[in-house]
């Protein structure tokens, strides 16, 4: 899978990140670096700190120690909306969409950071507000086309099946035009066909649009197939980082998953 898609430039970097809640340490001196154009997965047993890592990256939590660096800029203490504006979008483990709004409305909302017109302009039907709205709608439609959700464009999100809601959430994140997309268990609860579709979309987002993808996922087949590199977390510590091949051979990783080093745990 390695080709000119992945550059040498490190787009996102974590340095010695430590996050604790009271006495509990969620993350302990975690280092990682993600290259531009990569699919980078974070795996680990339940409670290893994967989602906490995402929350640190997108500014929801601020670590006690360490730094998150995005394209050379320290973003550790920025607020989530500032980070979104820089180009880091995410989807959530539990779907966080506006259930009573349509797919289109949810997605247009995803454009909010790009909307420049003010309150007054937005109240007028004509003028710059309208012109901009058309521009944003175009982008939203590109995403709709890309993720093949034309048929549900005007459906209320709450009425959609789970698999489609997951797809809509990814769609909304893409409407931000991010440079990095954080996906939190995009395949959870999906059947085989939906999983395969989602894989295809992730590959396409990465290769066609050149978006760097961070992925948390429990389906090992998917992770091993899609990822260029990955990091393994265990009890808040990073125990390994490398290509899927390297990780599969890593005994410490096997231990974290199985309790001992026996067996081939990450095979398909």
């Amino acid at each position: 899978m390695t080709n000119n898609r992945v550059g040498d430039e490190v787009i996102l970097k974590g340095e010695q990140i430590t996050l604790s809640f009271g006495g509990i340490t969620a993350l302990q001196s975690v280092d990682f670096s993600v290259k531009k154009g990569e699919v980078f997965s974070i795996i680990g047993p339940n409670g290893a700190g994967k989602s906490s890592m995402y929350n640190v990256i997108n500014g929801f939590y601020h670590p006690q120690h360490g730094k998150v660096i995005f394209k050379g800029q320290d973003i550790t203490h920025l607020k989530p909306f500032q980070i979104a504006r820089l180009g880091i979008a995410r989807s959530f483990q539990n779907i966080e969409l506006f259930k009573n709004m349509t797919v289109l409305e949810n997605m247009m909302l995803g454009r909010h950071i790009h909307i420049k017109y003010g309150l007054w302009a937005s109240m007028l039907y004509f003028g710059p507000g309208r012109k901009e709205e058309v521009k944003h709608r175009k982008r939203v439609e590109d995403v709709i086309d890309f993720l093949e959700i034309e048929h549900i464009r005007k459906k209320h999100v709450g009425t959609l099946p789970y698999g489609l809601q997951k797809r809509v959430e990814m769609a909304r994140a893409l409407c931000l035009e991010p440079e990095i997309l954080l996906l939190d268990e995009p395949m959870a609860g999906m059947n085989l066909e939906e999983t395969e579709d989602m894989c295809r979309f992730i590959v396409d987002v990465n290769t066609e649009w050149g978006i760097t993808v961070l992925l948390i996922e429990h389906d090992m087949g998917v992770v091993m197939d899609l990822s260029d590199r990955m990091m393994v977390l265990d009890f808040g510590e990073s125990i390994a980082e490398g290509t899927p091949d390297e990780i599969q051979k890593n005994e410490q990783v096997a231990k974290a998953y199985l309790g001992d080093s026996e067996g081939v745990f990450l095979g398909r």
Partner: protein
């Protein structure tokens, strides 16, 4: 010069309308994008020249596979304009079928819609020695393919523009040289037996058919049609290509197969031709919506529908209803039918036709009740799709209507329907023996048993080989019984058996969506299709439907026993043709175990079966099916 071929027709349309009239609309990015006749013409022109620049020679063939998009017919017309022709392949075909059609037709170029279709072709490239180029028009996901054999549709158009600079006037010369008796397109026949056959249709076949049909079923240049049925099907060729070019109608392409219903409503077509399956699904979807509606709406519907059905009976009998009934009907029309028509996208519909298989009389009545003048069309691929149609004021749901102009029809001594017209095809590709068996002295042998009514209407009983008799000599038409069963919204497909047997049995596959919905409302838990169809409550539900059907059948030709199949009948398993007709003999063979069990009087039958997916994977099912007596 009279425009007697499609390329000439297109050129003439482009000259007459230029940029002043819309030829094609495609919904893309949520907006209906329009192309004028001039733009349409130019796309065909440059794609055609582009093909030539890649080495397409006169007489070469292309194969097209993909959903309905403008590129599909552009490719078709471009091949014709380059003095070649081609064949359409159903987009859900399995690999074996695709390989057979491409190899058998000697196609050199394949126009494949997207990644999915390209993958199918690339996977079997070794088995397709003739292929020179695979041209795709949906670039999504294609950027990582480095294959030289692949090309993007717009690049071919650009190449065509370049080619014109060095070869000015070539396209016009090519178009000029097309002749009416040239092959224009190959339509695969649905092939209720074995692999599809390739029926070659000439320009004259298709144009004469479209113009003769137009004399009975008028079409105008202001008409809109929505092209959502598979283009390899002769019926869609007839409307979206032949009739639209001949009458200058605007063809609209939906955004995706899933959104076709909503897109249809946005357009509100004037003309629609669909196989029974589409009408049946529409009818079923209305019935389901009614079940889910509030009690008041349901009550209004249930009062209105019988009035509408009575209205259609008056119409079929060509009687004028009494004044009080007219008032009653118009009340029902404005209360229910008008809005319902709009919801279905039929506000503008003028010409609604069904063909390809028989449509149950009850479904027929339903649409006439709504005020949609649904008409039956009859014909074979081999006669460019059409030989008979109902005239506007002479509709009888039991018949196929009357022969269109220039068409002669008669019944042979064996009771077979024969027809003769300028639209009779020029033969099966590379199968002269088959052709000789089908067309004898210019008469096309349909294989359908039928008779002529005193009014000159054709009545089709069934396929000759499908008309059956019980061991005591009672004749029955399985299709007739099956259509009655299929009118129930819960029944998706039914197969009845009884030839040389003591009594009639039925194998029924339920409609997963609708029955699933019913089960949910009745708090019945289920997991898969197989599980659902083995639930006693569901069997009970279907049993009641069978009893209803039996009431409408003669005493000695009723269904005595039935089972619910553990899976839906599927074209991928060769049980249906691509147009959705049951391949009866294959099904009988495949389920012989079940059938024998049912005649042996068993009350339950154990099944270990293998099912096949589109990508060639298989999986097995183990289940027990219960047999019910009625």
């Amino acid at each position: 010069m009279a425009a007697d071929t499609f390329p000439k027709l297109l050129m003439e349309r482009a000259k007459r309308y230029g940029s002043g009239k819309i030829a094609i609309r495609e919904k893309d990015l949520g907006i209906w994008q329009s192309f004028t006749w001039q733009e349409y013409f130019e796309k065909v022109k440059y794609f055609s020249l582009g093909l030539i620049s890649l080495g397409f020679e006169p007489g070469d063939k292309i194969a097209v596979i993909g959903d309905n998009k403008p590129e599909w017919i552009i490719a078709e017309l471009a091949a014709q304009s380059a003095c070649g022709y081609g064949v359409g392949i159903y987009q859900d075909s399995i690999l074996k079928e695709i390989a057979h059609i491409i190899n058998h037709s000697d196609a050199k170029f394949v126009v494949a819609e997207d990644q999915e279709q390209c993958d199918k072709i690339l996977d079997m490239l070794e088995d397709l020695p003739n292929i020179k180029k695979v041209i795709y028009y949906d670039p999504k996901g294609m950027s990582k393919y480095g294959d030289d054999i692949l090309a993007h549709f717009p690049d071919i158009v650009t190449a065509g523009k370049e080619y014109e600079k060095t070869h000015p006037g070539l396209f016009e010369k090519n178009v000029e040289s097309t002749k009416e008796n040239d092959i224009s397109w190959i339509c695969t026949t649905s092939g209720t037996t074995g692999l599809p056959k390739l029926a070659m249709l000439t320009h004259k076949n298709l144009i004469s058919m479209a113009s003769n049909l137009g004399k009975f079923d008028h079409k105008y240049e202001t008409d809109n049609i929505v092209s959502f049925l598979p283009l390899p099907w002769v019926g869609e060729q007839m409307i979206a290509v032949a009739s639209s070019l001949l009458f200058g109608m605007t063809v609209n392409f939906p955004e995706s197969a899933e959104s076709a219903q909503a897109d249809l409503r946005e357009i509100g077509p004037h003309v629609m031709f669909s196989p029974p399956r589409v009408w049946e699904n529409l009818c079923a979807s209305v019935q389901v919506k009614v079940m889910d509606a509030s009690w008041l709406k349901r009550a209004v519907f249930n009062v209105s529908l019988p009035i509408g059905e009575k209205w259609s009976e008056y119409k079929f009998a060509k009687k004028t209803p009494p004044l009080y009934f007219k008032i009653l009907y118009y009340l029902a029309y404005f209360a229910v039918f008008k809005a319902l028509k709009d919801r279905l996208g039929f506000s503008n519909i003028r010409s609604a036709t069904t063909g390809g298989a028989a449509l149950g009389p009850d479904t027929f009545k339903f649409f006439h009740a709504l005020g949609i003048s649904l008409k039956q069309i009859y014909g074979q691929t081999e006669i460019a799709g059409i030989s008979c149609v109902h005239k506007d004021n002479d509709i009888n749901p039991d018949t196929m209507g009357q022969p269109i102009p220039e068409t002669e029809m008669k019944i042979s001594e064996t009771g077979e329907i024969l027809s003769k017209s300028p639209a009779v095809f020029s033969g099966y590709y590379k199968q002269p023996e088959e052709t000789a068996n089908t067309v004898i002295d210019g008469w096309l042998h349909s294989g359908d048993a039928g008779y002529l009514t005193p009014e000159g209407h054709i009545v089709v009983i069934d396929r000759i080989k499908d008309v059956m008799s019980l061991i005591d000599g009672v004749k029955f038409s399985p299709q007739f019984i099956e259509n009655k069963l299929k009118f129930s919204p819960y029944v998706k497909e039914a197969v009845t058996i009884g030839h040389n047997r003591d009594f009639i049995i039925a194998m029924i596959s339920i409609d997963f969506g609708i029955v699933g919905n019913w089960a949910e409302r009745h708090r019945i838990n289920f997991t898969t299709y197989t599980d659902l169809s083995s639930k006693p409550e569901i069997i009970e539900l279907i049993q009641n439907e069978v009893i209803k059907v039996n009431k409408g059948l003669p005493e000695n030709a009723r269904i005595r026993r039935f089972v619910l199949l553990y899976k839906e009948l599927d074209a991928d398993d060769d049980e249906l043709t691509r147009t959705g007709k049951v391949r009866r003999h294959y099904v009988e063979e495949k389920y012989s175990e079940i059938i024998e069990g049912m005649y042996a009087g068993m009350d339950s039958i154990k099944i270990d079966a293998v099912i096949k997916f589109q990508d060639g994977k298989t999986s097995t099912i183990h289940t027990v099916m219960a047999v019910r007596n009625v």
